[in-house]
Structures are given as structure tokens and as C-alpha cells.
């Protein structure tokens, strides 16, 4: 390339306001702008936030009082159902909540907003980093609220504060990873309704064929392999280990396993989602 074919655009553009390239440096700023925009969206649609929080509250209360008695019997001796249940409800809630990442993106796509963003000189990953980041902020408050409701209905952390914080971070980390998975769904369908419809079976298989609400040992043997090793169960077991402490079926190894799952899911899903975003129409 010789200098003779330097495009005129360089001179034609205002020097103050248009950095020529190096959009990598803008990933942070652009993502924060999108986080700001998405948080404003949540604030302006409080009904969405209410829905997102009422559901887990109902789950906590319902499972605690409706199934508690029946399932108590199949738990290892010394474990209470509420302490067994809460990690399951946490993870169930944030996995279902991750669906809103996909639904929101599908909506932006459908309304032409993604086209606007893609026509701007902004970082290519910022819309997704910003969307998943805003959903992380939302989840932070949802999990805190659920802790409060859990404590009210008798949940206790049998370990210590450090392990509780670790559990909290693993829950949020998994929430973030699942947001990226559903971002792929949201960018692959035509509108919000379809995103919801496509996501639900995925959610059901992940959440219900897991150790979230009932011990895996009670399931048919063909399902146990999946239910024991799939990421939702691994994460739930890690959270249980961190809040209940070592007990039959709960070991320290579940924590690094959960972290590996979280990192692996983000490492695979994020590049796929960004590639989808680049090609989105």
C-alpha cells in the first residue's frame, strides 16, 4: 500500500470528533453506554422487574411449603429441605432470567435498533457486552432479594460468610454465562415471542432435569447421567456445598467444576454471539 491512495475521508472528517480506528479502545466506553441504556429500559419498565422478582419469591415459598414435606424424606440425613432448595431456586431463577437477554436482543433486532448500532463506528462486541452486563446488574439485585425472602422462610447458611460470598459470585457468574447462551438464541430468531418460545424447552431440560428441586437419585437411571453432570446441577451442587458444607453427595470438587463450566460457556458462547451479531439482519 502506498500513501497515494489514502482516502479522502481522512481529511473530510472533523479531526476532533472522529478517531479513525482503534475501536478496541472503545469496547469499555461503548459497553457502558449500552449498560446505561439497558438499565434505563429496566427502570422504565418496572413491571418486567416485578415479574422477574415475584416469580422466584413464589418458587421459594411454594417449594418450601408444598414439596418440602414430600422431598424431605429422600434427602441425606441431617439436611433440611429449605437449605437444599434455596441453591436450586437461585440457579433456576437466574437461568430463567437469562432468557430476558435473548428476548431483549430479539426485540432490538426486530425494531431496527441493532441496525442503528451496527451502522455506528462503535465496538462490535459492545451491544452484547453491554446487554449481558446490564442483566448481570439486574441479577445482582434479584439474588439479594431472594436471599432476603429465603432467610424469612427459614433458610440458613450453615457455613461462613466467605463461603456465602463465593456462592453468591458463582450464582452471578453462571447467570452471566447463561446470558451469553441466550444472546445467541435472541440473535437467531425474528422477534421476542419466538425467542421466548425457542428458549423455553432449553430452559426446561436444563433446570428440571437437574438436582435443582429433587435429588438426582430419585430419577430414572438413563436421566441420572445427564442430571448429575450438566452445568446447572454442577453449579447448584457447588452452591450447596458452599452454603451447607461437606455432607453426603456434596464435595469441594464441585466448586472448581462449576467455575470451569462458567468459563467454558462464556468462552464458547460469547464468540458465537458476537459473530451472530455481526451478521444479524
Amino acid at each position: 500500500m502506498s500513501t497515494t491512495d489514502t482516502p479522502r475521508a481522512v481529511e473530510a472528517t472533523a479531526p476532533t470528533s472522529r478517531p479513525r480506528s482503534s475501536h478496541r479502545g472503545h469496547v469499555m466506553g461503548d459497553s457502558l453506554a449500552i449498560v446505561w441504556r439497558n438499565l434505563l429500559n429496566i427502570r422504565r419498565n418496572p413491571e418486567l422487574l416485578v415479574f422477574a422478582t415475584i416469580q422466584p419469591v413464589i418458587f421459594v415459598v411454594m417449594f418450601r411449603y408444598v414439596f418440602g414435606g414430600a422431598i424431605q424424606g429422600s434427602l441425606p440425613a441431617g439436611q433440611t429441605y429449605i437449605n437444599y432448595l434455596m441453591p436450586g431456586v437461585f440457579v433456576q431463577t437466574i437461568v430463567f432470567g437469562a432468557l430476558t437477554t435473548g428476548v431483549g436482543l430479539a426485540d432490538d433486532l426486530n425494531k431496527g435498533l441493532i441496525d442503528r448500532f451496527r451502522s455506528l463506528p462503535m465496538a462490535r462486541s459492545a451491544v452484547l457486552v453491554g446487554r449481558t452486563g446490564a442483566d448481570l446488574v439486574r441479577n445482582f439485585f434479584v439474588v439479594i432479594l431472594m436471599c432476603v425472602v429465603g432467610f424469612i422462610v427459614g433458610w440458613t447458611v450453615e457455613t461462613d460468610l466467605v463461603k456465602f460470598v463465593e456462592a453468591f459470585l458463582i450464582i452471578l457468574g453462571f447467570a452471566y454465562a447463561m446470558s451469553w447462551v441466550f444472546a445467541i438464541v435472541g440473535l437467531s430468531v425474528k422477534d421476542a415471542e419466538t425467542a421466548q418460545a425457542v428458549s423455553f424447552p432449553i430452559l426446561a431440560v436444563l433446570v428440571f432435569a437437574s438436582s435443582a428441586f429433587v435429588p438426582v437419585a430419585t430419577m430414572p437411571s438413563w436421566m441420572q447421567g445427564w442430571a448429575r453432570n450438566q452445568p446447572v446441577s454442577v453449579v447448584i451442587n457447588a452452591v450447596r456445598y458452599l452454603t451447607i458444607g461437606p455432607s453426603p453427595g456434596l464435595t469441594a470438587s464441585s466448586v472448581p467444576k462449576a467455575i470451569v463450566w462458567i468459563v467454558a460457556i462464556v468462552a464458547v458462547a460469547a464468540p458465537i454471539a458476537v459473530a451472530r451479531y455481526r451478521k444479524a439482519t
Binding site: S2, T4, D5, P7, R8, A9, A12, T13, A14, T16, S17, R18, P19, R20, S21, H23, H26, G29, D30, A33, I34, W36, R37, L40, N41, R44, N45, K111, G112, L113, D115, R116, F117, R118, S119, L120, P121, M122, A126, T281
Partner: protein, 351 residues
């Protein structure tokens, strides 16, 4: 290399060279070429499904061409998309605004994402709100805006970073006449300020009114290009319709006016067809001939060919102006030329 550099220096602001885009087996755009000189307006005219939106999407880096090249201010859209994005503004068919943000917040968001310095974003947003008559609604959530206000906000958002090249994809589709006129004025102002504009439209009068040059595309290919006047001239006849008080006078006029142009009589009316480029001169000659014969017409009407006529003669079907829902990427070849001209007029004015 030097020669090439000189070429680059005099190159048009927007250059499309043999653009091709396929969707599966369907060739939506089949080798479209045109150029838009700096500071000019090009009207990309065509019915639904002609491929207008697809062309715009390729030029604005939203869609990669499967063939051909495109440059905006000398920057290749495939090789330097990020730099192209910094110098273009795009306002699409649908108002691409965040309905849950206020008008001002929408503009600030675009300002931030265009990497304007924080210190200028606020002022720029206010200036645009003022210019688009949205100051009073600036702090209202965009969900409450009317269709016209949304379009104005959308166009304002496309202008936040003061792009020298602007792409408008059917900017007035779905607007009421008042909103359309308002938007036309804004576009004229931008062009007066030196902005290069590529405008797609299915409204023939919109292209006639705003565009310096018109490219007509149909089924993904260019079928005609030129100024509105050239396109009309290519079509030929301007018709002067002269009405008389009785059949006898009309009959006498036929003989007299044969020297001016082709004459056709229809009862008390005489239709005089003359060359499209010489409508005024023919009119003058006609008046002289009638005056010398001391004949006085009762009515006098000049019918210049409209772009409707151009379109009909080029495509063999009417310029389709179906309601919204314009999936321009597909093959919406529209209902053929069955609808007569009067029908089209009526539908258009009913909008």
C-alpha cells in the same frame, strides 16, 4: 499509482460498482452500479422487493456484498467498514430509536456510541432537537411520540456525528403529507449544507422533488438512470390539451395545429402531442397559430409526462405503492400493471 490517486481524488462520494447480493438461491441485487457526486442527492427508485434496501444495507456496511465493490468517500465498505461507519448516517425504513429512552437520551446514546467528546454531546443533542422541532418533547419517553416525531428523531440520530454522507431508506414511508413535507424541507437543508444523500423511495414525486439524479431499479437491476427531466424526455410526449366550445371549432383546430405536433381529436377536445423537451416552445407556437386564426380555446391544460409514466413504460408495471410491510429483501414483485393510472393516482392521494 499516481493516476489512480488522481482518480480517487475526483471520485464521487458514493460509488457502487456491480454490486451483487444473494439470499440463498435468490439474486436480490444483480450488478447494480451508480455514483453520487459530493453534495448531490441520488434517488433510488423502485417498487417493493426491487432491492433498494439491500443496496443501502451493502453501502452502509450492514450487509456484505457477494460481488462488486462499493466505496464511500473513497473508503471500501468491505475493507474498511469501521471507517465508513464514522462518515455515514443511516435512517432506515423503521424509526430505529429506543422507545424507552427520551428523545434527548436517544441522541446522547448515539453521540456516545459515535465517540463524540462528552463535552459536545449535550449541545449537539439540543441543537438537533431544536432543528427537528422536538425541543418540547425532548424529555418525553419516545414511546409517546407520534409517527412523524419518531421519524424526525430517527433522522436526528443519524445526524448526531455530522456525517458528510447520509443514507435515507424510504424516509417518508407511512408519514402523513404534513410530516412528509417537513422531512423534505430538512433534507433540502442538509443538502444545501453540502451533505451527500442517497435516498430510496417508492414515491415518484419524492424522487422528482428531492433528487438531482434518479436510478430506477427493478428486480435487483438498474433499468434506467438520469435526471427526472432526462427520464421524462426519454419517454417523449408532452400533451397539450385544448378544449373548445363546440365540435366545429375543435375540428377546425385539428387542421391548424397539425403544423405544431401530432394531433388527436376527442369531441370538443384536441390533444396535441409534442416533444417532451420542447413543451413550452410548442405551447407558444400553438397559441400563435390559434391567435392568427382568431380562435379562442375554452380550456388549456399542459400534461408533462410524470415519473409514473416513466416507471410504467420502463417496468411494464405500475409503481407499486402498497401499504407499509415492505420486506424489500424478498421478491415482492408487486401486483402487475393491471391497475390503471387513475387507480394509482387515487390510491396515492388516499394515503
Amino acid at each position: 499509482m499516481v493516476v489512480q490517486a488522481e482518480e480517487t481524488a475526483t471520485e464521487a462520494a458514493i460509488v457502487a460498482d456491480g454490486l451483487v447480493k444473494c439470499f440463498g438461491d435468490v439474486e436480490a441485487v444483480r450488478g447494480v452500479s451508480f455514483r453520487v457526486p459530493e453534495g448531490k442527492v441520488l434517488g433510488l427508485l423502485g417498487p417493493n422487493g426491487a432491492g433498494k434496501t439491500t443496496v443501502v444495507r451493502m453501502l452502509t456496511t450492514l450487509s456484505r456484498p457477494d460481488g462488486g465493490t462499493a466505496r464511500v468517500l473513497g473508503l471500501d465498505v468491505r475493507e474498511r467498514p469501521q471507517e465508513v461507519r464514522a462518515i455515514i448516517g443511516l435512517a432506515g425504513q423503521y424509526a430505529a430509536i429506543d422507545e424507552n429512552l427520551t428523545g434527548r437520551e436517544n441522541l446522547r446514546l448515539v453521540g456516545k456510541l459515535s465517540h463524540l467528546p462528552g463535552s459536545v454531546i449535550g449541545g449537539r443533542a439540543d441543537e438537533l432537537l431544536e432543528r427537528f422541532d422536538l425541543t418540547r418533547a425532548a424529555n418525553r419517553i419516545a414511546r409517546t411520540y407520534s409517527g412523524g416525531m419518531r421519524r424526525r428523531l430517527d433522522l436526528a440520530a443519524a445526524l448526531v456525528h455530522e456525517p458528510p454522507v447520509l443514507f435515507l431508506d424510504e424516509p417518508t414511508t407511512g408519514l402523513d403529507p404534513q410530516g412528509r413535507n417537513g422531512l423534505w424541507e430538512v433534507i433540502e437543508d442538509l443538502v444545501a449544507g453540502g451533505t451527500t444523500v442517497l435516498l430510496t423511495t417508492q414515491y415518484l414525486e419524492e424522487a422528482d422533488y428531492l433528487a438531482d439524479d434518479i436510478v430506477v431499479i427493478d428486480h435487483g437491476a438498474v433499468i434506467a438512470q438520469g435526471t427526472a427531466t432526462e427520464l421524462k424526455a426519454g419517454l417523449g410526449a408532452t400533451v397539450i390539451e385544448v378544449g373548445f366550445r363546440d365540435d366545429a371549432a375543435a375540428g377546425a383546430a385539428v387542421a391548424l395545429l397539425a403544423s405544431v405536433g401530432a394531433v388527436e381529436r376527442d369531441g370538443k377536445r384536441v390533444n396535441l402531442s409534442v416533444s417532451g423537451e420542447d413543451g413550452a416552445g410548442s405551447m407558444l407556437r400553438m397559441v400563435r397559430v390559434l391567435d392568427e386564426a382568431r380562435m379562442e380555446p375554452a380550456t388549456l391544460t399542459l400534461h408533462e409526462p410524470t415519473l409514473d409514466d416513466v416507471f410504467l413504460s420502463l417496468t411494464g408495471h405500475a409503481a407499486e405503492v402498497a401499504e407499509s410491510d415492505d420486506g424489500d429483501d424478498g421478491d415482492g414483485s408487486g401486483s402487475g400493471g393491471a391497475a390503471g393510472r387513475r387507480g394509482r393516482r387515487a390510491r396515492r392521494s388516499a394515503r
